[in-house]
């Protein structure tokens, strides 16, 4: 049947070719690229693939994922802000580092000006793990070891300036220890690094979950406000004496200057996507819950986050040197 219908399709194709000039079609008329600034296979990547797949049903065009990892999740959005047309065919996941990194160093983008914010989607559950073969049974073991061997404790993060990096440094300064950060590109890489004991610890979002479930990694803590129902025995940051909560909420955005109609269309499709039970189930695998914010609320939220991040960065002494 496949080959038999080819001629028919060819005839139809020529027909379509002739009639295509009849009228401009409405957005979207071709596949949409969604940049995920993390390597393929991590928790963000898989969550975004599920969301994109559901959104594509509402948009009537495929939403393809383009993994542009690096720079703690900023390489992708920065590339988009610099090079993509605001036609709605290139959008990106915007992790919190997009707002934080400009406070820490020279960057090529301005979070206040260079993006069209579309919709806020969800947030992460972060945690710190170590290999099951490691001598560290609890966070206290890590602190004790680090006190005797300053700088010897290495931890893998999905990039410099990520919440994981900032959070670990905050903990280190409160505990009076020195840790060494090794920036990877994302979850798939940090998993391999800690499994192979190339770094002693891994600080990352829930991409480690299948490995923790299988007993190959040991989860030392989670960074949520309450214990995760999936890991009832694992303490939170607060319980360990660090009064902090990190969830790095994220959404999607496009390059600046997008047509509000296109933004609205994307907003609606992605809003429906995070209401899709199949998507919610996929997110739940990684301890993520939908956290919907409309286009307007998302814009306000970005301004708030930037302010609160500025304070944290200043206290840690990681702020950009102004000279």
């Amino acid at each position: 049947m496949f080959l038999g219908s080819r001629l028919m399709i060819a005839v139809a194709a020529i027909g379509a070719l002739v009639s295509a000039g009849a009228g401009a079609q409405e957005y979207p008329t071709k596949p949409i690229t969604l940049i995920v600034p993390w390597p393929a296979g991590g928790s963000t990547d898989i969550a975004m693939r599920a969301i994109a797949d559901s959104a594509s049903k509402h948009l009537g065009q495929p939403v393809t994922i383009d993994n542009k990892a690096g720079g703690g999740g900023t390489v992708g959005p920065a590339t988009m802000a610099a090079a993509a047309k605001p036609d709605g065919y290139t959008i990106a996941q915007l992790p919190i580092t997009v707002f934080r990194l400009p406070l820490m160093q020279e960057v090529s983008w301005d979070p206040a000006k260079d993006f069209s914010y579309i919709v806020h989607l969800t947030g992460y559950t972060f945690g710190v793990t170590t290999s099951a073969e490691s001598p560290f049974k609890s966070w206290k073991d890590v602190v004790d070891y680090a006190k005797q061997n300053p700088g010897k404790v290495t931890y893998a993060t999905p990039g410099a300036g990520t919440s994981l990096h900032i959070g670990m440094e905050q903990m280190a300064s409160m505990a009076g220890i020195k840790l060494t950060q090794v920036p990877f590109k994302g979850g798939a890489e940090t998993n391999a690094a800690v499994l192979g004991q190339h770094t002693m610890l891994q600080a990352d979002s829930t991409g480690w979950r299948p490995l923790v479930d299988a007993g190959k990694l040991r989860l030392l803590m989670v960074w949520t406000s309450a214990r995760s129902p999936n890991f009832p025995d694992v303490p939170t940051l607060k319980e360990l004496g660090y009064p902090m909560v990190y969830d790095s909420p994220f959404g999607i955005g496009g390059p600046k200057g997008m047509d509000p109609k296109i933004v609205a269309k994307l907003h609606d499709a992605f809003k429906k996507a995070i209401e899709d039970p199949a998507v919610i189930a996929t997110l739940a695998k990684y301890d993520m819950v939908p956290n919907y914010k409309s286009t307007e609320d998302y814009k306000k939220f970005v301004a708030e986050v930037t302010e609160s991040e500025r304070k944290v960065i200043d206290t840690l002494g990681l702020a950009k040197k102004t000279n």
Binding site: I14, L17, P31
Partner: protein
């Protein structure tokens, strides 16, 4: 490269110039590396690997230059002997014209003239073959991509394709 005439004068030696271009690139890479900051060995910066790669480039380029000076090499003229250099130039010009026309005119309207040009300009193919080939192959590519693989090619301002 056997049987090519040795350079009568050193400046005509194509090997020498290849090496010099390599050396210039190497120096540029070193400079770019320095500008991007080397960082420290505990935490290498963005320019660290560029800087050392640049040094290696200079070393290899210097080897090539040394060999060119001591052993000589084929001249530019000998490398282009019997070559119709206008033909590659023509192909490149066609490609550049195509790439500028692609988005405004759309894939089909730019690919069909490109095919006609290429088929006729280098070693002319007879018209009775040129026309069907130039029309059917872009149409076929367009169809396979759009219908089988769901890849959309630019349709241009006339919305054709």
């Amino acid at each position: 490269m056997n049987g090519q005439t040795k350079a009568p004068s050193k400046l005509n030696n194509s090997e020498l110039w290849g090496g010099l271009i390599g050396l210039a690139l190497g120096v540029f890479v070193i400079w770019s590396g320095l500008k991007l900051k080397l960082g420290t060995i505990n935490d290498p910066g963005s320019g660290y690997v560029l800087f050392y790669t640049g040094i290696l480039m200079c070393v290899f380029a210097a080897t090539i230059i040394a060999a060119a000076i001591t052993e000589g090499g084929p001249t530019f003229a000998s490398r282009w002997q019997d070559a119709r250099w206008t033909k590659p130039l023509l192909v490149i010009l066609c490609l550049i014209a195509f790439s500028f026309a692609l988005e405004p005119l759309g894939f089909l309207l730019s690919a069909i003239p490109l095919m006609v040009l290429l088929l006729r300009a280098i070693d002319p193919v007879r018209w009775s073959l040129t026309i069907p080939l130039a029309v059917l192959t872009p149409l076929g590519v367009w169809w396979v991509l759009k219908r089988l693989l769901l890849i959309q090619l630019p349709s241009g301002i006339f919305e054709i394709g």
